[in-house]
Amino acid sequence: MRVVVQEAPFDPGAELNAFGKGDTDIGAVVSFTGVTRDVSGGLSRMQIEHYPGMTERALTQICEEAQSRWSLADLLVIHRHGVMEAGDNIMMVVTASRHRADAFAAADFLMDYLKSRAPFWKKEVTVDGADWVAAKDSDEDALDRWSQ
């Protein structure tokens, strides 16, 4: 398990290629890459603030919860903070398991949880000014389907 919080860009292809290498018991690798989107059509940049210390702690707890729910050979979470432009990669989740169901479910779970339980805040800076991205009710609702 690896949790990375960094300002620098990362290479999703290289991360994916290196992930799980040498583990011959892995039969499925699922990856998700979150990309900065120009929602308003005038995005000049996206600023991502985070809570150093709690971020790593929360991401690790979410990963450990995924490991306890599914049979995972390995998992990786990379999340950036700082300034991003449209098209830049923000974050990546990769999961590996023997069979695909576990890897798919765990990746889905990780995404739902780190959207609203990891301390990141996005601010969109557009030609019209700067605004914090509001959390959506649907993000909170998405967590309900994982409650046991």
């Binding site: 979150g34 809570y51 959207k115 301390p119 805040w121 601010k123 991205v133 909170e140």
Partner: protein, 82 residues
């Protein structure tokens, strides 16, 4: 003495990222009331608690929670990661 941290628009409204606070409050709500009473910018930042989240020593908590033994309190809006 307790470390109080603010993030995102809470930080912007209050005008600082963190501060040390001398408090006699025993719960988060008590601390919020003390901060609200300080100045208008605090009252504004804490006007709608449903729009705020709180973490105690870097774990998500709630406004009814006790401050007993807590060293760091953080206030912020709902998170928007991913």
């Amino acid at each position: 003495m307790i470390n109080v941290l603010y993030f995102a628009w809470v930080r912007e409204r209050i005008g600082l990222p963190k501060e040390k606070v001398e408090t006699s409050a025993t719960t988060v709500m008590g601390l919020v009331d003390e901060l609200r009473a300080r100045e208008e910018r605090y009252a504004l930042a804490f006007s709608d608690l449903s729009a705020l989240r709180v973490a105690l020593d870097q774990d998500l908590s709630d406004f009814d929670a006790s401050l007993d033994g807590v060293r760091e309190v953080a206030f912020f809006p709902p998170m928007t990661g991913g």
